[in-house]
Symmetry: C2
Subunit: 254 residues, 2 copies
């Protein structure tokens, strides 16, 4: 696998976590709506491999897609409180544009940054805060229907369905990663929910590496570290992708 | 329940099936993008209750929503082969506009015309044509994840997720009806798939009546007649909505 991996939204938090820890693992092609400053670029990435492109710009996305082996699609409005018009355009329409371009270019694998907000409304008053605790059995495993907590979550669930369609229709391998709570260095303090869905930077980078390297058809997995507190199963990520997380939010407690 | 029922897409095929058989059951408020000719209007509907409005026009939809008890939302691009830009605007954005207006106006129930195309890719080469036959056990029941057969189906699956969000967020009752193959008079001839998912006009009207009259929270049901050939379960429609279909495509065979 010597062909490039296209990373959209490379300047965002998830993109930077990936590049920080996996910057030398692939031949990267980096795309972001904003020009990327040099401190956001891993060593060895030339300016020719950096695209300042909006994912709703079809022609520019098609150009960035040429010769790409795999896509990690993170670009979009990342705000849980983002208004509908923005998630409709940037997240739903943008994901369609990137997926369609990927299929047209013969890309083999597509990892989509979905979100815990696609299933946030499972956290009902009856279940919380117990579900955030290590001794609670409630777990989501990716086979459940979406229950978004906001319109951002609706847009992520829609992106997952777009992936399902393009996989069935065109054969491209698609994995939707419902990313938990990505924070650098340590999990959130005094926030049970954030600790339960914590994803460390290095586990994030490792998980998306596995999305590029593993063989799969269509998958929905949860992107969290191996936390003692856990209401997302990581069995599928382990079994199908070979995800082997290093971190556990419990090690930072007390 | 004396307040009006708003029917969007009233001039389309599903809307006309409903009005033909249930035209005198409710105080209707009818909305369609095109002006409705008099033969498309049931007796007793005054011109004041007919709105020529595009569902992407927020202000006009809000006006049509005033005082409404329940919405049957059918409007959208109905073509399975519709291009992305059209289903994005008319089906996904349009459904958001209608749902948001319904919640803002205090509407109690929302029935959404979803489609068999939201799950059409379950009909794999391995399963067909056996799954279209009466002795085959494969059944979808509404708890499965969407597998759209086209971008139209993606848009319907996205509409379902919007309904899920607005139910969880605002409490409005939402039922997504995955409509099968609606044909007038008799089921399709020499087309096993169409017979398996046949929905007669009168069963269609009855089913949407039940969506207005029954009590429910959030549901996904299949909209087909009581066909011997069947790969969609109608148990949930029976149990939750009180759906009691009259027709069966098998009665037209042979």
């Amino acid at each position: 696998m010597d062909d490039p991996v296209l990373l959209t939204g490379a300047g965002g938090r998830v993109g930077q976590a990936i590049l920080r820890h996996s910057g030398d693992r692939f031949e990267w092609r980096l795309l972001d709506r904003e020009p990327l400053s040099s401190e956001k670029l891993p060593a060895g990435v030339s300016k020719d491999d950096v695209y300042a492109v909006d994912v709703t710009d079809e022609a520019a996305v098609e150009e960035a897609m040429e010769g790409v082996y795999a896509v990690i699609h993170l670009a979009g409005d990342p705000r849980p409180e983002a208004p509908w018009d923005s998630v409709l355009r940037n997240n739903i329409d943008g994901t369609h544009t990137v997926l369609q371009a990927a299929v047209d270019a013969g890309v083999e694998k597509f990892a989509f940054a979905s979100s815990n907000h696609a299933v946030g409304a499972y956290e009902t008053d009856e279940r919380t805060p117990e579900m955030y605790r290590p001794d609670d059995d409630f777990k989501l495993d990716g086979e459940e229907l979406p229950r978004p907590s906001n319109l951002y979550g609706v847009s992520k669930a829609s992106g997952e369905v777009l992936g399902r369609y393009y996989h069935d229709h065109a054969g491209i391998s698609v994995v939707n990663v419902r990313i938990g709570n990505l924070t650098e260095g340590h999990p959130p303090i005094d926030y049970e929910r954030g600790q339960a869905m914590w994803l460390s930077y290095r586990d994030c980078a490792h998980l998306f590496e596995r999305c590029v390297l593993a063989d799969y058809d269509y998958e929905i997995v949860y992107g969290i570290s191996d936390n003692d507190r856990k209401y997302y199963s990581i069995d599928r990520a382990r079994d199908v992708l070979g995800y082997e997380p290093t971190d556990n939010s419990a090690e930072f407690e007390g």
